[in-house]
């Protein structure tokens, strides 16, 4: 406090020094967050031998694309990639669609049993979805659906991810002003009309947030595929990353890391391109909840 009263020049230099210290701190603090990513992207281009060496020496042959070629040539990785893409493409719109409709009803329409049913869906959100794995597995095996994608997709839509999306949409619809709805009714719209023509168009940011969460959850889903899928060609990406091993358990790290880059790339790129919206919508989900 004292320095502020002093002459202008020392203050500046003190502030400048303070700045440098702060910058140094920021750099140090950010290391554990981005060094692993940097390391991943660099190592994906190394041979299996060079990976164990110094981080920025590539060894003979320099940058290698062969890891990426081999991932697609020797393993059904393209097929597994397609599996993950189509499961996300199918489950995310359904999850968000069902949740938007249900969330609106939970937020705005009074119907008998509403609170009880909403509480059940809160429970579905809170309870670790792994807990219900045994009965779900019994159900799906009796239906002969093990080793198909059906359980994986349905559990995305209706289990924890679905419940969370319903919750998110309900919280969003509660914040929309009721006057809008009344104005719509004056214009002769019925409830579905109000929902479709007025509420939904206003909900694009919330729908986008919900979709981001749903995509991330679907892309990351490990537990259900682990239980339901055992054929190589049915696997999704998170499981597929663990299959670049020799049969006795030795990991081919160069292939594993190259494949990890391919799995991370679309999400990281999407994030970098739209990071402001990304971060803001995720932050909003926290402060408005």
């Amino acid at each position: 406090m004292r320095t502020e009263v002093l002459a202008v020049k020392p203050v500046r230099s003190a502030r400048g020094g303070w700045h440098w210290a702060l910058y140094l701190l920021l750099v140090l603090v950010s290391l554990p967050f981005f060094l692993p990513l940097l390391w991943l992207f660099v190592s994906a281009f190394k041979s299996s031998g060079a990976i164990f060496g110094s981080p920025f020496q590539f060894g003979a042959g320099g940058l290698r694309w062969t890891n990426f070629e081999q991932v697609f040539r020797d393993y059904p990785f393209a097929r597994q990639y397609l599996n993950s893409v189509y499961i996300a493409a199918l489950s995310v719109p359904i999850t968000v669609g069902l949740a938007a409709v249900a969330g609106y009803a939970f937020a705005r329409i009074r119907f008998p049993g509403r609170n009880a049913v909403f509480l059940l869906s809160l429970l579905a959100m809170m309870v670790p979805s792994e807990l219900t794995a045994v009965p779900q597995f019994v159900l799906f095996s009796r239906l002969g659906l093990v080793n198909t994608h059906v359980p994986v997709i349905l559990l995305q839509i209706f289990s924890a991810t679905g419940a969370f999306t319903v919750f998110l949409m309900r919280q969003h619809f509660i914040t929309l002003p009721r006057e809008l709805e009344d104005a719509g009714r004056v214009d002769g719209l019925n409830s579905p009309g109000v929902f479709w023509y007025i509420m939904l168009p206003l909900s694009r940011p919330a729908l986008a947030t919900a979709a981001i969460f749903a995509v991330l959850n679907s892309w990351n889903d490990y537990f259900n595929p682990l239980i339901y899928l055992s054929r190589e060609t049915l696997l999704t990406l998170p499981l597929a990353l663990g299959r670049f091993t020799d049969p006795l358990g030795g990991v081919y790290w160069n292939l594993t890391l190259a494949a990890s880059v391919l799995v991370a790339l679309p999400v990281l790129l999407a994030f970098l391109l739209a990071q402001r919206q990304f971060i803001e919508s995720l932050a909003a989900s926290g402060t408005k909840g």
Partner: protein
């Protein structure tokens, strides 16, 4: 709403593989990899060519998870029809009634069951039934990296064996010299995954008078001789630093390991190795040169909906002609194949003389790991105990006593 119902219906359609009407499709489950897997896929295609109404899909699960993955599939009614099974899983699969009795096939004189040594079949028999046919009768061998030994100026295990001095003291000092002079690890005894701790470890235990189970299948891993054998492996890990610690991902095929104990089938992973390698017998211990005889067999799962087609495919795989081809990676139990002139030359990567010394000559003293029918559970206790054992400052005797307390308490 209708749209979403439609979409779910669509996803059901997309996800369920459409089976073609008349053709029988068999699922064949294996943990093979590399060239071994390529061979199996080729055999599946050939079988389809010769019996056009039967197609075979080869499905792979890594070895460490193989038994539990297959068992879960069987329990859910989505199991494979035919598959591999390793010796350690046979008792538990027999107990749960998961395997089909093959005596109709093996009783067929054309199949010539007598071609298999009695010792190779004992594991697969129960009562009058035969529940599997071994395709691999594989004493573990020592792979060594010739380049590293040359660089370290140590004579290779095979040379030391020829001179008669290849014992565990020589093994330890060779490993340490390789480590000290090249910076690479001298030896890996266990596989990377501690669940597969028994591979490699058993040879060291048995050759030095130790054991995992006694003859009544009671835990014996805490016997004084077992403790001494573990002490040796522990000292090589933490004293000499010549053996990688658990969690270390260094593999032999990466070229930074002097020696590695595994089955001959591991050579399927060495096609692209950037170094010269060879195979040698395991070292000799205080009670002999006992190596683990890895056994794996073909089985038909009891829940297969196509038991006859499955059994016919198994017959094809276990026939002398096909076994002569799989013999390249999997030492054949059929005596007719093992003693044939072509066998020793079957794997071009391993010279006939080496294969004879390291493998064929060791068959007499090799031993199968006999396990109890609760091995899935017991193995969990063994593996977690082994993880406690390989820690700096561990009390080996106490850890092994704890393991036995747990295993015998199951």
């Amino acid at each position: 709403m209708n749209r979403s119902v439609f979409a779910i219906g669509l996803c059901v359609l997309l996800a369920v593989p459409v089976a073609s009407a008349q053709k029988v499709n068999l699922r064949f489950s294996t943990w093979a990899g590399g060239e071994g897997l390529t061979l199996l896929q080729q055999l599946a295609q050939e079988y389809n060519a010769q019996t056009p109404n039967v197609g075979v899909t080869v499905e792979v699960t890594p070895f460490a998870d193989y038994a539990s993955k297959v068992a879960v599939q069987l329990a859910s009614g989505s199991g494979p029809d035919v598959g591999w099974l390793a010796e350690q899983s046979v008792p538990s699969f027999l107990k749960s009634g998961s395997l089909k009795d093959l005596s109709a096939l093996t009783g067929d004189p054309a199949f010539n069951l007598a071609d298999f040594p009695v010792s190779a079949l004992s594991l697969w028999k129960q009562g009058k039934g035969v529940y599997g046919v071994p395709f691999s009768n594989s004493p573990q061998v020592l792979f060594y990296n010739k380049d590293l030994f040359k660089q370290a100026g140590v004579s290779t295990p095979l040379q030391q064996y020829a001179k008669g001095g290849w014992d565990y003291a020589a093994f330890r000092s060779s490993a340490k010299t390789v480590k000290d002079r090249t910076g690479a690890f001298g030896a890996r005894i266990m596989r990377v995954d501690t669940k597969a701790w028994n591979s490699g470890t058993l040879g060291v235990l048995w050759s030095n008078g130790g054991n995992v189970y006694d003859s009544n299948l009671k835990c014996a891993i805490n016997s004084p001789a077992s403790v001494r054998a573990f002490q040796l492996m522990y000292d090589m890990t933490f004293g000499d630093g010549s053996v990688p610690r658990p969690g270390d991902q260094t593999t032999f095929q990466g070229g930074r390991l002097g020696m590695y104990i595994d089955n001959v089938s591991f050579s399927a992973q060495l096609k692209d190795a950037a170094f010269k390698w060879g195979v040698a017998p395991l070292p000799k211990g205080t009670t002999g040169r006992v190596t683990q005889l890895g056994q794996a067999g073909y089985v038909v799962f009891a829940r297969s909906s196509r038991p006859n087609e499955a059994q016919a495919f198994l017959k094809f795989l276990a026939s002398p002609a096909v076994m002569a081809r799989t013999a390249k990676f999997f030492p054949p139990p059929r005596k007719s194949v093992l003693t044939s002139k072509t066998y020793l030359g079957s794997n071009p990567a391993i010279p006939a003389a080496e294969l004879k010394t390291a493998l064929v000559n060791q068959l007499g003293s090799a031993r199968v790991f006999k396990t109890s029918d609760n091995f899935l559970r017991a193995n969990d206790l063994f593996a977690s105990g082994i993880e406690r054992l390989y820690q700096p400052g561990a009390n080996i005797g106490n850890v092994l006593n704890d393991i036995c307390k747990g295993v015998d308490g199951l």
